[in-house]
Symmetry: C2
Subunit: 256 residues, 2 copies
């Protein structure tokens, strides 16, 4: 066990840099906090390098911390590193290691084009995990995956399914070449998802909260889907729409 008493410690200063995208990109790692996220990272064998715990924090027996450097620190250090109002006494540093997404003709994939709200992105990843999605690809203009609010909203699903950054134009080509149907989401030239029959594997392309999917990407999709609005709302929240579409497509499959 290593001990750090002061938030002015140089190592703490290095860790603190991980609270910015620039710092994360430079260091190639990110910071997670709270027992739930840290537990998910450890149980899923994510590359956790450091575990930073408050003096009063008890490490649960099921956490395998074999290769992890553990630091017992003063509460002031946790407060310095934490992004929340009520830190929960445990933080971990995780290496940013993305595994390649392998295409399976029967798989389901989600493509994200410019989602800006961290809560929305995290919730979509959590929803994709729930719906049994095989991989999520984040296009340019999307909020940083390792933003603390995104991580919190994933509720750990980030460690369950493959999530990677990529060029959506190239990914759409790759899916189509691999015989995987690509659905855009748009009212224009779209069909209600309830009318769509089981495509086997497919990729679902979700767009920015205000502007939707970029027109140049929509042009390349095999088909565009929309969620019918039965009331007076103009639109749905994008994470809610993702849930309706992913589960609805599954329900279409079951009903055939």
């Amino acid at each position: 066990m290593n001990r750090i008493a002061s938030p002015k410690n140089n190592r703490v200063k290095e860790w603190k840099k991980l609270n910015s995208k620039k710092g994360r990109d430079k260091a190639g790692c990110f910071i997670i906090e709270g027992p739930h996220l840290v537990e998910e990272a450890l149980l899923c064998h994510a590359p956790v390098s450091d575990l930073i715990i408050d003096e009063s924090f008890q490490i649960p027996a099921k956490w395998h911390t074999g290769n992890v450097t553990t630091w017992v620190v003063a509460s002031s250090v946790i407060n310095e590193l934490s992004d929340t109002e009520s830190p929960q006494g445990v933080i971990a540093i995780v290496e940013n290691e993305t595994k390649p997404i392998e295409l399976n003709p029967e798989g389901t994939y989600v493509l994200i084009d410019g989602i800006q709200d961290p809560g929305n992105l995290g919730t979509i990843i959590r929803t994709a995990d729930s719906a049994g999605v095989d991989g999520v690809i984040l296009g340019s203009g999307t909020v940083d995956l390792f933003n603390s609010k995104v991580l919190r909203s994933t509720q750990g699903s980030l460690f369950h399914i493959e999530v990677t950054k990529g060029n959506l134009n190239e990914w759409i080509d790759r899916f189509k070449k691999g015989g995987i149907k690509v659905y855009g989401t748009a009212l224009q030239d779209g069909v209600a998802y309830t009318k769509e029959s089981d495509p086997g594997g497919y990729a679902l392309l979700l767009g920015n909260e205000a502007n939707g999917v970029s027109p140049d990407l929509l042009e390349k999709t095999d088909q565009n889907l929309f969620v019918p609005i039965y009331g007076k709302a103009e639109s749905l929240n994008v994470a809610v729409a993702a849930g309706i579409l992913l589960y609805g497509m599954k329900q279409n499959r079951v009903n055939q």
Copy 2:
């Protein structure tokens, strides 16, 4: 047109009290901001009493402001009243007038038991509106409907469907007496929503983010539903689950 130049004006001080639940409860009105929400309130004939605009704000021609007192104010007044980092130059005061929810045996209703996150409550109301829900009833322990983040997340759906506070125990009795099936949401003694056939009208009971629906309410439901998890996530966000259930039940209906 009335003018207010200073944020220290007494009327501004009274309006500012509407940023707290206590102030709203005392005054019987609430505050909304931004052109989209204000427009929805006006177009839906919500009881808007005052419209407060920045000197540079242009009132759109389609806004009928006949009975509304309009105040042209300094930017500092808007900043004083606004809850956002980038105020958009328009605020309105709306009377808190809840209309009774009438029960229709073919209708769909949502009951909210103790949802705490403002974004979740607002998003559920927006989703309910999209799914054609007839009314939403907020039980005790639920975040205040007129909290600015709730209002913002509704995207105006608050003005499209009836939303009221109520005793959920009594409402469940009322639904059952009216021949409207009440579904809880719980894994325990639950069935996958995809297995449930069309009940005609129904009420869906959603629970707190961490603890779910209160056990005493779950005991009174006709049936409990759950959303199957196909991946490794422990659960779904409650607003996403609401969307999947409300749209999934509709899809069951279509497929019969």
